[in-house]
Symmetry: C2
Subunit: 286 residues, 2 copies
């Protein structure tokens, strides 16, 4: 049913009470000492399962970073399969951050990877190959988030140049994304075709929101990358329509009150609670 | 050593006597009947290993399509690991077609996937996030091919718009790719930073070759997608600097002389020989 995934995503955020998503970007060298031992793929899996237990109820959405698992090959992908499945069982809405993109028949294979093999509710996709290449990712009760404006400084080189007909490359992409998703809105009024719009480019936020009025924005770059409550505010529309993501600032918080012998899951939960409050504040002030 | 992968790629093509690459895009429903049985991941692995045996000596380069394996999750990725390792053992230059792209730290994980987990010599990457995001893929004795101009009709929507400063989006990307690779040329004079430029966009070929004089072009779209000897000719420079790819037309040729009971590997080898002749003809006429 068109729009059903957008409805589920909003329901997951409402249930947790915050427009917040925790990115699962497990990096071996940053894991708590007690987790960081043995096989790397097993260690990142244990860490992610522990993180899910820690944040359940605090946020309703998680975003596993496919690359962090893929780097360990088939063993890493097997860990991703289990982490994703467990997250869905626990009631999280799961956005696989895979930034896939390829021409038609190959895009179908990538959709099968994200939705069937990994079991994600949504996947991030790259639109450089054209909007027709995103269609194979459109599936009943699944959502996509197309890259429009990314958080890194170097993205300006490709996304910011002005077009002869007016607007920037990112705005041209935004228009294509809006058209693709126009007929796919749910009961909530938002579309199953969302967009990645970074927290670090506030100068573009109002314009992109104007071009994409029905797109839920997945917003990276909050926290460690410099995005703040102020910079994400204009990405909301009436307090809705955005999912703020934080990864490193939640997964690897500064030492908690327990000190080196403390409970890393308690520290992580406290960091998630702080983050959820900030996301809530950004939405309510928008 | 900078440029070493470009040198190895050209040597692999010279040894086989053709600027040709066979794409390993195993699709279950198209496999020969005797291979298409049992576990899907096992079937595509058996098919690819058979294809490698069939084409060795005819072409020197293979391009496994990551998506075709990933769709079967960890089992598929395990098959990809083994197919890629076997291909390198047999002397093929292996280009992993994965079209990855993400910001810095995540791009490093994807590079580890392509080079360490899968063991590829080169990987295709997507430049939409900016040229800084391609740098983590630059590794000694490894090459990248950045998407510049892709073969599908819908790619025009993003790659063809004209910029206010002149040129198209694809040309802007081409300039960034050329700058990234300028200092990474090998003894052969070509760069470890290559570009994907489709066989189906001959109107753009001369201009892109001009902007990217040191880039080896990986050329999809030949055969099944409509590219011909005529359309790929302008992508070469003095008979060098391009790798023509064919996937479906080689992997799934029309019934060979052996009929339904014939040897599929012989049919595949014959198709590879025809394709290699065409690629050779395109280069020599350029």
């Amino acid at each position: 049913m068109s729009g059903a995934a957008a409805d589920r995503l909003l329901a997951a955020m409402d249930a947790a009470g915050a427009p917040a998503c925790v990115g699962l970007d497990p990096v071996l060298s940053r894991l708590p000492e007690r987790v960081h031992q043995g096989d790397p793929a097993a260690a990142i899996e244990v860490f992610c399962l522990g993180a899910l237990e820690a944040i359940v109820g605090v946020v309703g959405v998680v975003k596993p970073q496919s690359a962090c698992f893929e780097r360990y090959g088939s063993a890493g992908v097997a860990a991703l399969e289990r982490v994703s499945r467990r997250a869905r069982e626990m009631g999280f809405f799961v956005i696989l951050d895979a930034k896939r993109g390829d021409i038609g028949s190959t895009a179908e294979h990538y959709a099968a990877f994200a939705y069937d093999a990994i079991g994600a509710d949504a996947v991030t996709v790259n639109p450089y190959l054209g909007f027709d290449t995103l269609e194979p990712f459109l599936r009943e009760d699944r959502a996509i988030f197309a890259l429009v404006r990314t958080s890194n400084p170097g993205s300006d080189a490709v996304q910011s140049p002005g077009l002869a007909g007016g607007g920037t490359v990112a705005e041209r992409v935004a228009r294509g994304v809006a058209e693709l998703g126009a007929s796919r809105t749910g009961e909530c009024g938002w579309s199953d075709v969302g967009a990645v719009v970074a927290a670090t480019k506030p100068e573009d936020a109002a314009r992109l929101r104007e071009v994409m009025p029905k797109q839920i924005f997945l917003v990276p770059g909050f926290g460690a990358q410099g995005g703040t409550v102020e910079t994400v505010r204009p990405l909301f529309a009436g307090g809705r329509g955005a999912v703020i993501n934080a990864s490193r600032s939640v997964l690897y918080p500064d030492q908690g009150p327990g000190g080196p012998g403390g409970d890393w899951r308690a520290d992580l939960r406290a960091a998630a609670e702080t983050f959820a409050s900030e996301a809530r504040a950004a939405a309510s002030a928008s």
